[in-house]
Symmetry: C2
Subunit: 316 residues, 2 copies
Amino acid sequence: MNRICQLFQIKYPIIQGGMIWCSGWELASAVSNAGGLGLIGAGSMYPEILKEHIKKTKNNTDKPFGVNVPLLYPQTEEIMKIIIKEDVKIVFTSAGNPKTWTKHLQENGIKVAHVVANSSFAEKADFAGVDAIVAEGFEAGGHNGREETTTMSLIPLVRTKTAKPLIAAGGIGTGRTMLAAMILGADGVQIGSRFVASDEASAHIDFKNEILKAKEGDTKLLLKKLVPVRLIMNKFADEIVKAENEGASKEQLANILGRSRAKSGMFKGNLTEGELEIGQISAQINKIKPVRNIIDDILSEYKTVKQQLNHVRFSF
Amino acid sequence: MNRICQLFQIKYPIIQGGMIWCSGWELASAVSNAGGLGLIGAGSMYPEILKEHIKKTKNNTDKPFGVNVPLLYPQTEEIMKIIIKEDVKIVFTSAGNPKTWTKHLQENGIKVAHVVANSSFAEKADFAGVDAIVAEGFEAGGHNGREETTTMSLIPLVRTKTAKPLIAAGGIGTGRTMLAAMILGADGVQIGSRFVASDEASAHIDFKNEILKAKEGDTKLLLKKLVPVRLIMNKFADEIVKAENEGASKEQLANILGRSRAKSGMFKGNLTEGELEIGQISAQINKIKPVRNIIDDILSEYKTVKQQLNHVRFSF
């Protein structure tokens, strides 16, 4: 049995990335109901809000689901308490040290995956005893690694450093890209952007429509002096590019960024002044669909392309 | 029959990228003799030198080979005259408009491929009537596109815009990455960096050894205000990063760059002050090998991984 399916007790090794402002109970339960693994994105939630989303997810699916916890927020301890109390069985941690929480969560019967963007952090996560590793490439939306290693380069490198179940992320949102990532050495995939443009995502409809419009080259990795983040270009992003080109300092960039840009852009639909976090795969997304159709599309293309391997194109 | 093999009359759809200072007659003829397509990199050659390399390649292989011509040099017309006169059968053009030379070359019995970094240029190349298109992603070494689209994202996009034989480049240098690129929609691959670290490349031995040392994150895409180029970090590259962080203008960057940095680094082995153009795949290159062994390794891994597709990991 595929190791990711086995580990999380799911039908397909498709994880829906836990994303701030986009992945609440509705998206997570829809993905889990469709046979993937839905993740609630706790990064944009106060503890009480997270509790509500966990309860609603439980009410809407009897399948496994999880919570993604970026480890950089002050309320992490409270978040973890709620997760344990609410009997969540799967946690994906990111943006922090995997040693801090892995053991404690596992002692409470929770499977833990940790997100990395380079193979030395993958080694650290392995050493911390995580159950699975997510390796995310440069093309991914939102917060991103400093090495700018692409999924094509990253997955084979991570595979040489750990034998753990490996989930590829970044640039994946179709059956073709899923199969390619698995050929590179992954056991499964984490998909973010494609699920933002779904009926069930909590993203603002105007942001969803902006994803459909995004063409090749319309996203850029910005704010590298702070924390690198991939965004759709808009008035705000243009301002950042201009400042960066003129050598703006970390402090100056933080000033321009200010607060709540992500909420403003992705949740409230402010397309000019907000942060619109999305990956390069957006250029291949042309329709908002129900989650079930998205997963059907991916699986159907995956199977078709896998069968094409018998084609003469692949033989020489 | 695989379309790239058919088009160029070669055994394996493996093209050796034509690279300045690294790919002379010895590398090109070795690759062609091993069943791939060797390309002489004309970008770093005066017309008379190119002529000599073409003659030596002919003397060293009876298999098809080609010349890569970046269209940005003043001597392009003279270069093309030599290519036609010397009866070269295959030309790869890059860094320019595919309309300028394609028809003329084809009228002289030459197959033409053009290198692009985005799908709208792929469409233009298709319209110009080229015989094949090379699409090169962000992870590639040397000169690179402005959109920063990775190979994983680029190949499916280009595939939707053209039905021509498609060659993927960027991040490819193993059987696993080759198969992934073909799953993404390519008919064959162009490999650069892996062939620089070969016995037959004309690169300086110190540069070749530097490739073996390069780890993940050791290359960076720099000089974006001029022409983006992926380099191994060294004293010179650090200086560029510092200047860029401080908002250096195009002119200031051109001043720091000066002239002959590529020759100095890659051909003369000046590891501190020279430009060392290489791709992210360098992190996966650990040994200088003869071309024949490199191609054997790639094909053997390609076949192994292709067979693994029957493994339970890929089934659900």
